[in-house]
């Protein structure tokens, strides 16, 4: 029962992703992407990683995707944009990259079939995650914080200039 739930979540995630990336309307695509992320969160949970699942929902599907929503709203892409997207999605454009990607997938699949084993079924609690995170991985946390700071500064800088410019014009 639980296993079928897992595979179902996987199916949903993949389908939603494919749909998301083949949309012409950005908002629709975003909705599909959120669905995909939620499905992945389910998979995390089922694999015994509840903390990761929670973060997937809160940060990914919640915060990051909302950021996309804001930007799409600010850009205010209309019907014309959709029309153009449709033109850009002509088969002759996607057929070669897709073939390439499929070859890569086959190669990866061949590699993955070499691996055997299952997930352990042990739940890794948030407590354990926290202990490890602030134990051996302290340096990584610091680096991540610096990365976030850099992202913050960068986004502020880019955003401010574009806002200044829009005010001037």
């Amino acid at each position: 029962m639980m296993e079928s739930l897992f595979y179902m979540a996987g199916f949903v995630a993949f389908t939603a992703t494919v749909l998301s990336l083949s949309r012409t309307n950005a908002t629709h695509a975003l909705i599909y992407l959120i669905i995909s992320l939620l499905a992945v969160a389910v998979m995390f949970y089922l694999m015994g990683a509840p903390f990761a699942a929670a973060l997937e929902i809160v940060v990914y599907a919640g915060a990051i995707m909302v950021l996309f929503v804001f930007v799409i709203m600010m850009l205010n892409l209309g019907q014309a944009g959709e029309q153009r997207e449709r033109q850009w999605l002509a088969p002759r454009i996607w057929i070669v990259p897709t073939l390439l990607a499929l070859i890569l997938l086959v190669e990866m699949a061949l590699a993955i079939t070499q691996i055997s084993g299952t997930t352990s079924g042990v739940e890794v609690t948030p407590k354990e995650v926290g202990l490890t995170l602030f134990g051996p991985y302290l340096l990584a946390v610091e680096i991540a914080s610096m990365l976030l700071l850099a992202g913050l500064v960068g986004a502020y800088h880019l955003g401010r200039r574009s806002i200044d410019r829009s005010r001037q014009s």
């Binding site: 296993e3 992703t17 996309f68 930007v71 454009i93 352990s120 079924g121 995650v129 991540a144 986004a155």
Partner: protein, 104 residues
């Protein structure tokens, strides 16, 4: 609640499939918004692989790497979307192919 015991290769195949989907999106789409989304998908797919591996060993490391990926994704998206806005304001387009000034 104890976790599920699924074959690792299935999860990894799932991650690979998601990754490839994101890759195709990256190669096919010209709209920068979609490109960013594709990147998110690819990051997410790799995160899935890490979590699966963590679950295989029953250790926290997989989730920690997931968190680091999350940080990277957040930083990338914030800067990336900043660039999107800039691009739209300056060139009135979201077409990545038009923004090839990098070449010179």
């Amino acid at each position: 609640m104890p976790g599920l015991q699924v074959p690792l290769e299935h999860v990894l195949m799932m991650a690979a499939a998601l990754f490839i989907a994101g890759l195709v999106g990256l190669m096919v789409r010209r709209n920068i918004i979609f490109i960013l989304m594709s990147l998110e998908v690819m990051l997410n797919a790799s995160a899935l692989a890490f979590v699966a591996a963590g679950a295989h060993w029953g250790q926290a490391d997989g989730q920690i790497i997931f968190m680091l990926i999350l940080t990277v994704a957040a930083a990338e998206v914030s800067v990336g979307l900043g660039l999107v806005l800039l691009l739209q304001r300056r060139f009135k387009t979201l077409d990545m192919d038009n923004a090839n000034r990098l070449r010179d």
